[in-house]
Symmetry: C2
Subunit: 325 residues, 2 copies
């Protein structure tokens, strides 16, 4: 979609000054009216382009949307994000990913990234609502993992590491991972992850890693969130380039994901631990079955948290709510 | 479907001799032509019913199909199999179950059993073909498990125990469990199981336990199967009552499943071990990633097999092919 429009954009991007319509028409081998149609498409996608009869078209400002074209320009991965789908607005990218993985061979979708400018029904763990206004990164990666089923939740660990590393490298923010799958800056949540799985014991049909990052989002837009939240723009004091950030997250995620596929579980666990704000803290754990307090002492090689209860007994939890005290 | 026909059948079953059409018509408050329509439906379902103008209708012989009506008569469960769907022929019951679980709230389907007289595209582990001719039990149970995600493959253990116990109790056969999910009599496979899963870390959306049992199946009908196979009819020397067997399997499965939901994992592991023909044997394991030999020494509390390799190292495998030597 819009490939021809992006060809026009490419020409505008490579020229310093304005480009006459005739030049665009000749360079791309399309009519003057086709050029004008694509210029209008680009303007609709948020690019600021001026048109003058005398000088021609001039790109004044890039779009501030999270367009695949812009992400691809920054992307340095080998397979992650090579395919992307973009939605102005959708219910949730993880729901879209599930539909795609059911209808197509997941192998052909491996590394596909689904992006939405906003989600009308964003979901978090346990079906909880995930507030997803414009300005964030609301994306889902479709994977066909070739890893043993009991390692599958290490994909979430790899994703959490990727987000924390990206925030550190791009903005020098002290992002840390709160078990099981949130990213915090100080006492406030800035991002979260959700892994969806379709599998039998011997093989994973597909996994979907949904990520939500509060990027250029004002606290007012997140007021429906019950916990303390922050955003990157709030932390750094200005809006940041979302395509750059998403490309960085995908790059960091790809390198950790490939470690998983190579069976290098220990190095994922080690990096996760080095970024954890949960370990060595007193926590209350609420699971499906039980609720208890203790000290989070370690994470095991499957991603389960180990808690030392007050009676000295060690509990192992693979999933649950963790309230740090 | 066919509720009215089964009401007619109930009357025929409770009377010793033949029942005049007029009696059926009066008892059930339906017309004589409706009675005849339902008699024809029952005959189509495999019931042998004679009709004489003088005497009326007489049930000569029950259907030899695996009809929900017949299974329900024998069923002693509290929720398992309370809902059933029957297919003369379908691609695979696990595929049907997946469609149902996607389209409806899985909670309302908890315990639903899908039965097919034959499967045209029966599937085993890793998408392998599962030969499913008439005479077997090809069924899938839909579950909405309230158990932690890392315990989910214990559902397969519970199902394997149920089948082995049912074959022992009903026919005194020395059925044993071969890891991960087959039932053997001597050196020949008689049944298998497959668990399909849709989940996130914190909750299981649904699980489907597919079971295939070679019941009244001749070896010729299984000749496409590469391994050594047997059937119950071959072992006991005559065809057996499939509704009785399925009702027994569901009863045995329900009781173990409820242990799982109650967190009584240890008792499932203990019973599984007591029925295992894999433990204490030398095995070759082929997984996604690796292949090795060793002695199967134990199964852990998540259903993973522990193998002592020749170098003394213990390997833990949650899934794979196991060739016993």
């Amino acid at each position: 979609m819009y490939e021809a429009a992006f060809k026009v954009l490419e020409v505008l991007e490579t020229r310093e000054g304005p480009v006459p319509g005739e030049t665009l028409s000749n360079t791309l081998g399309i009519s003057r009216s086709a050029v004008w149609k694509h210029i209008k498409e680009l303007i609709n996608m948020g690019y600021e382009i001026t048109a003058s009869h005398r000088e021609g078209y001039r790109l004044k400002k890039s779009s501030n949307r999270l367009l695949p074209y812009e992400v691809h320009k920054k992307l340095k991965t080998t397979f992650m994000g090579m395919q992307m789908r973009y939605f102005e607005s959708t219910s949730s990218t993880i729901w879209v990913g599930k539909q795609m993985a059911r209808e197509q061979d997941p192998q052909t979708l491996h590394g596909m990234v689904i992006i939405a400018e906003q989600q009308t029904g964003g979901i978090g763990r346990l079906g909880r609502a995930w507030v997803s206004p414009r300005g964030g990164i609301w994306a889902t990666v479709i994977l066909k993992p070739n890893i043993p089923i009991d390692r599958v939740f290490m994909i979430t660990m790899a994703g959490a590491i990727a987000i924390a590393r990206a925030l550190r490298k791009e903005y020098d923010l002290g992002a840390l991972i709160k078990w099981p799958n949130d990213i915090y800056i100080g006492d406030s949540k800035v991002a979260g992850l959700l892994l969806e799985l379709s599998a039998e014991a011997d093989r994973i049909h597909y996994a979907l890693l949904g990520v939500g990052v509060d990027v250029n989002v004002s606290p007012n837009d997140l007021s429906a969130v019950p916990n303390s939240v922050t955003s990157i723009s709030l932390e750094v004091g200005h809006d940041v380039d979302r395509p750059v950030l998403l490309a960085r997250i995908l790059k960091e995620f790809e390198s950790r994901y490939l470690l998983l596929e190579a069976g290098e579980y220990e190095s994922i666990v080690r990096e996760w631990k080095s970024l954890s704000c949960t370990l060595e803290h007193r926590v209350r754990i609420n699971t499906l079955k039980t609720s208890f307090e203790g000290e989070a002492i370690d994470i095991d090689e499957y991603g389960a948290l180990l808690i030392r209860k007050d009676n000295g007994k060690i509990e192992r939890v693979i999933a649950g709510d963790c309230i740090q005290q």
